[in-house]
């Protein structure tokens, strides 16, 4: 129904906000009267009566005497009989909701109020913060539209050779992790059909070590782990429902399709994680990444149940992942990492079973900087990629070995090998270069002038090789964060903006506690960076960030380096090359991991 609205700035000059609302109201079909600034309350009230309006909207930007001005207006409106007839609203930089309510306004809107919010007030309907595509947010597929065709024939030829060799090598190999993943799948299927999985569970327990072995032997949990009670889960469910009631969050990209913004959780406590995930969703994160404890990666086997862990990283169990998955809004992407450790095939299988949307696999990173034996992770990674293909889970191939000091070209060569294996298995890999200030950049002075060129060069290099999705991480700005939250949020936002400018599909961001090591990440720090990224993406929009000509030179050097590494790897073979330092040696900071060494079995012992 059409409303008649009077708009009046009670400031000497500031009326831009009201003009925007005036335009919005007219476009929404309402009739408006916009008064000039700085009229006395008597004239505003007189105009409201004369114009026979349904609603009066006032604005106030300047902070002095706000209470006096607004109180005087309400007094005069009441004396004139206007207060009882029309709806009164007030907004502007100087207005706080509590002040407006105290003064007797029907609605009071502070800084950040949108035109849509003001229109909803006039129309007397509830308002949910919906902007751009936020109202229709859907779950995007990062890999959509990519052909994975190579633009660099020599690199394609080398990868084909390497992967041919690898496929032959891996065909008759298995590991305890591969066997456990198959058993876990059977356990889930058996119990889903109402069967008894006791025997399968016993077999599974025999393939475990450490805390997992103890659990399957006598049901005990480590001292730092406990089962979360039903009461806690009930209260948490209530919190989640309450969070979701507030409607869809803002759109962090203001309608642009990319980059999607991911952020990682993993406080150790599933309850706190879910509490954080809900605020990440509220502040418009597109996806969340499950971060598991480091000891879990070095233990053969997973525990069971809804568990809390006193320490960094949230334990992977089918129940924990399912609980997280159930807590997410339908548009939120859920990634479970399987890029290192002794449980990668089962991790991907569980991710698929609980309805996660993405996973993370990289044989090179996990075995050169993640502590897992290369042979073991090569076998496990292969089977993890088979599960990823089976469940339709795209996976990023993270190159975090750069943080250890491995040069980008060596890390990228490894990433391309894993991605090529993934493609052979029918998977959809996503390339994940680091936007970071790693050792290579420091030693070679690649970022002495700016932080744009080398990061942009990585994307340029990969784009010149293959038509594949690119998702820098993880998180962007690694090694540039400090404990200063302003600096930390700023560097994250700038790196995300660079990602947007070079057209990547997604970015992973940290909280402003990234560089703080004195305690767990708090919720406010998570909001800091999301808010900063939103502002940076707003600021740059579709404007470009131009790298200097040096970026092209850097990109060419990376590509040349990749060709050399792959050429050498064809000579050694992929897995031997991992041990021999082809993809990064001790001088680079890469050390073949030892977890799981000697556990790979041949065909006669294979289950899967």
């Amino acid at each position: 129904m059409t409303k008649r609205v009077l708009l009046a700035p009670i400031d000497p000059v500031h009326d831009v906000g009201l003009k925007m609302i005036n335009r919005g109201l007219k476009e929404a079909g309402h009739e408006t009267v916009l008064l000039p600034p700085d009229l006395p309350p008597e004239e505003i009230v007189e105009a409201a009566i004369r114009e026979n309006v349904d609603c009066v909207l006032l604005s106030r930007t300047l902070g002095y005497d706000v209470a006096e001005h607004t109180a005087r207006f309400v007094d005069i409106a009441e004396a004139a009989g206007l207060r009882q007839k029309v709806k009164l609203g007030i907004g502007g930089m100087a207005i706080r909701p509590e002040l407006g309510a105290e003064m007797g306004f029907d609605g009071a809107f502070g800084p950040g109020t949108t035109v849509a919010q003001a229109i909803a007030f006039v129309e007397g309907r509830p308002f949910h913060e919906i902007t751009g595509i936020g109202a229709e947010r859907t779950r995007p597929d990062i890999t959509e539209g990519f052909t994975y065709s190579y633009r660099h024939p020599e690199i394609e030829r080398l990868l084909d050779k390497l992967v041919d060799q690898f496929m032959e090598w891996v065909a008759d190999r298995s590991s305890p992790a591969v066997q456990r993943a198959a058993l876990r799948k059977q356990i889930l299927e058996t119990e889903r059909n109402g069967g008894n999985a006791t025997e399968l569970r016993q077999q599974y327990g025999k393939l475990c070590t450490g805390a997992a072995a103890a659990y399957y032997t006598n049901g005990s949990l480590p001292d730092v782990v406990r089962t979360i009670s039903d009461r806690e889960l009930d209260l948490l469910d209530e919190y989640c429902k309450s969070a979701d009631k507030n409607g869809p969050s803002k759109d962090i990209r203001r309608g642009a399709k990319k980059p999607l913004v991911f952020t990682q959780y993993g406080t150790g406590c599933l309850v706190t994680d879910i509490a954080h995930v809900k605020l990440l969703e509220a502040w418009a994160a597109d996806g969340v990444v499950h971060f598991d404890p480091s000891w879990g990666a070095r233990t053969e086997g997973f525990l069971e149940g809804v568990l809390s862990h006193k320490g960094d990283g949230t334990i992977i169990t089918a129940e924990n992942l399912a609980k997280i998955s159930q807590s997410l809004q339908k548009h939120t992407l859920f990634q479970v990492r399987a890029h290192r450790g002794l449980n990668t095939p089962e991790t991907v299988m569980l991710a698929g079973e609980v309805g996660a949307h993405l996973t993370k696999i990289n044989i090179n990173y996990g075995s050169l900087a993640g502590g897992t034996d290369p042979e073991r992770l090569a076998v496990d990674g292969y089977h993890a990629m088979r599960y990823a293909a089976e469940y339709g889970l795209p996976f990023d191939v993270v190159t975090n070995e750069e943080l250890a000091g491995v040069p980008a070209h060596k890390a990228f060569a490894g990433m391309l090998v894993t991605a090529h294996i993934g493609r052979r298995l029918g998977g959809r890999p996503i390339l994940q270069p680091l936007f970071c200030k790693g050792a290579e950049a420091l030693i070679k002075g690649l970022m002495d002038d700016n932080h744009v060129d080398f990061n942009a060069a990585k994307v340029m290099a990969l784009r010149s090789i293959i038509d594949a999705p690119i998702w820098p991480g993880a998180p962007v700005g690694f090694m540039t964060h400090t404990e200063d939250r302003v600096q930390s949020a700023m560097t994250t936002a700038l790196h995300a903006a660079l990602g947007a400018a070079v057209g990547v599909e997604a970015v992973s961001i940290a909280s402003t506690d990234e560089a703080y090591s004195g305690g767990p990440i708090v919720s406010g720090s998570r909001v800091d960076t999301l808010r900063a990224v939103m502002e940076a993406l707003r600021f740059f929009g579709s404007a470009q960030i131009a790298p200097t000509p040096k970026a092209t030179e850097m990109a060419n050097n990376i590509v040349d380096g990749i060709v050399k590494v792959l050429t050498q790897a064809v000579e050694t073979g992929f897995v031997p090359g991992l041990y021999q330092g082809v993809f990064g040696d001790p001088e680079d900071g890469a050390y073949p991991g030892r977890a799981g060494k000697g556990t790979v079995t041949r065909r006669e012992q294979c289950v899967r």
């Binding site: 406990r226 806690e232 948490l236 509490a275 006193k310 320490g311 305690g519």
Partner: protein, 81 residues
């Protein structure tokens, strides 16, 4: 969840409370001491300095009190492991 009228502010905290301010102080060490003392005076025991930078007349400092540490407690009725 408790109604707003009944809730105590600290019961509504999800995890930690940060205080950020500027202390007039001689050096970083004094700034740290002042922030830790302030947090203790407010009744918090699990406290830390997240960030401090001393220049000129004093220090910009951010202190933190943890009300809940993951795995130890949370505001949904969880207790120590």
């Amino acid at each position: 969840m408790e109604s707003t009228e009944k809730r105590q502010p600290l019961n509504a905290l999800l995890d930690g409370l940060d205080i950020e301010t500027f202390f007039m102080c001689r050096d970083e060490a004094e700034g740290r001491s002042l922030m830790l003392a302030l947090l203790n005076q407010l009744g918090f025991s699990d406290v830390d300095i997240v960030f401090i930078e001393h220049r000129g007349p004093g220090a910009r400092v951010r202190g933190r009190a943890y009300l809940h540490r993951p795995g130890a407690s949370h505001p949904f009725g969880g207790q120590c492991a």
